[in-house]
């Protein structure tokens, strides 16, 4: 499903953000990526949805080398993914509903269907009662849940989440993870970056340890 071959990434010489990463994530896997801050977790995710390009190496998703996809076709790759960004990337001038709906709108889904699915997604993260508020009126944790709802609303084949529970209390974090698990059960491949050991202990199938840009350990339960 997701394959990386000898991927190197350098933002600024001489430090390597990632060095020689080779990994395979199978379809339907639920994978945690963990490691201290600055170990390259976010970089790894950004490479997978091609926000950035690797300095060296190849990335294959669904048997397609994504580095060879022309820019104007990238949308096809991204439409198969749901992404929870570390910094949420919400639109603060738009309401919660619109923030989530945008994913479905670009797919050209009818308005009525959009309303139904957005409502369901927001209910999953327990925010449906704040659908018509602006993100700035929400707490940090609530904003994060909006970002999660946006990532799952289109039932993506691949779900990438960067510290999705970083600002949530443990109970809510567990709830969110259950949402991810559910999506995983429906067939999606999930990759979650986190340093929350508790979560990993609870939910981890496959755990990748990154340290200073190197993949140092892979555990399977």
């Amino acid at each position: 499903m997701i394959e990386l071959y000898h991927v190197w990434k350098q933002y600024q010489a001489p430090k390597w953000a990632l060095s020689d990463i080779t990994l395979h994530v199978k379809k339907g896997d639920f994978t945690f990526v963990t490691g201290p801050s600055g170990s390259g977790k976010t970089t790894l995710l950004k490479l997978i949805f091609r926000e950035i390009l690797p300095t060296q190496g190849q990335i294959v998703i669904d048997n397609r080398n994504i580095l060879r996809i022309p820019d104007h076709r990238i949308y096809r790759l991204r439409r198969r993914m749901g992404i929870v960004f570390q910094d949420f990337r919400l639109l603060f001038q738009k309401k919660v509903f619109e923030n989530v709906a945008v994913v479905l709108q670009v797919l050209g889904i009818p308005r009525k269907e959009v309303r139904r699915r957005v409502f369901n997604a927001l209910r999953m993260v327990n925010l449906h009662h704040k659908m018509w508020e602006y993100p700035s009126q929400l707490s940090y944790g609530e904003q994060q849940r909006v970002a999660i709802a946006r990532a799952v609303v289109s039932n993506p084949k691949i779900l990438l989440a960067d510290e999705p529970t970083g600002n949530l209390d443990p109970e809510l974090a567990t709830e969110i993870m259950s949402v991810f698990k559910e999506i995983n059960r429906q067939g999606a491949t999930v990759i979650v970056c986190t340093h929350d050991r508790e979560l990993i202990r609870h939910f981890g199938d496959i755990i990748l340890f990154l340290f200073k840009g190197k993949l140092i350990k892979k555990e399977k339960f």
Partner: protein, 241 residues
């Protein structure tokens, strides 16, 4: 404007009538008056009594019959007038035409000059609108950067992201065209009133007239194209997806 068409000598009655009919049918002509050879002679004698002797010495009447034709509109273009005269001259029975050629030619060059100035100014203004629209779109692209970024990340196509900006450029163009048409309308309506009599003789030459339907549609089409090009050029430079 008066044009005199001189008829051939001894023109049969039916041919004269057909010439008259033809003149009266023309949309350019306001009224037609027939001046027979006898009338022309009488008129000459009245106007130049001192030359009466000369005329009386000639046995025959040297004056041709003619049609004195007044043109309907003052603001006909010189080309139209010249073309009309040429067509009539080619007709059987008409010997020659007399009109104020100088005036027609002067008008012709004046209108050509006005046209050139108009095209020049129009070109500059079109270019200015192009850059203004292009800049407005660019500012909008910058203002909505976050949104564009998110649209890209959730799988929005180029077209989906660009269409709103293109539409905006086109609408700006149409609005600009409409406003300029309205302003021109007011100008045409009130400028002559404002100038009034001070225009004097020029009033006859310069005729304030609103654009024709074709010109209006051309102007609107032009503004759409300018708006479209303005936004496209901005998007090409600042919205590389």
């Amino acid at each position: 404007m008066l044009i005199i068409f001189f008829l051939e000598k001894d023109l049969p009655e039916e041919q004269r009538i057909s010439v008259e009919k033809r003149l009266k049918e023309s949309s350019l002509v306001n009224n037609v008056r027939y001046v027979s050879t006898e009338q022309a002679l009488v008129r000459f004698k009245q106007n130049f009594p001192e030359l009466q002797g000369v005329i009386e010495n000639i046995e025959i009447n040297p004056f041709p019959a003619s049609f004195e034709t007044n043109l309907a509109e003052e603001n006909l273009s010189p080309e139209t007038i010249l073309r009309f005269i040429q067509v009539m001259k080619d007709m059987d029975g008409i010997e020659d035409a007399q009109f104020n050629r100088d005036w027609v030619e002067r008008m012709e060059s004046l209108s050509r000059l006005a046209q050139a100035i108009g095209l020049f100014l129009g070109g500059i203004l079109a270019l200015a609108s192009f850059f203004i629209i292009s800049n407005v779109i660019r500012l909008n692209v910058f203002a909505r950067r976050d949104e564009i970024e998110i649209l890209r990340l959730v799988g929005g196509t180029n077209l989906y992201i660009r269409v709103p900006f293109i539409l905006e450029g086109v609408i700006l163009g149409i609005l600009g065209g409409a406003v300029s048409l309205a302003l021109l309308f007011l100008l045409v309506k009130f400028f002559p009133l404002y100038l009034g009599a001070s225009l004097g003789a020029l009033n006859d030459i310069i005729n304030f007239r609103y654009l024709s339907l074709t010109q209006i549609s051309l102007l609107i089409a032009g503004s759409v194209i300018i708006g479209l090009l303005g936004s496209l050029s901005s998007l090409a430079r600042f919205l590389r997806v």
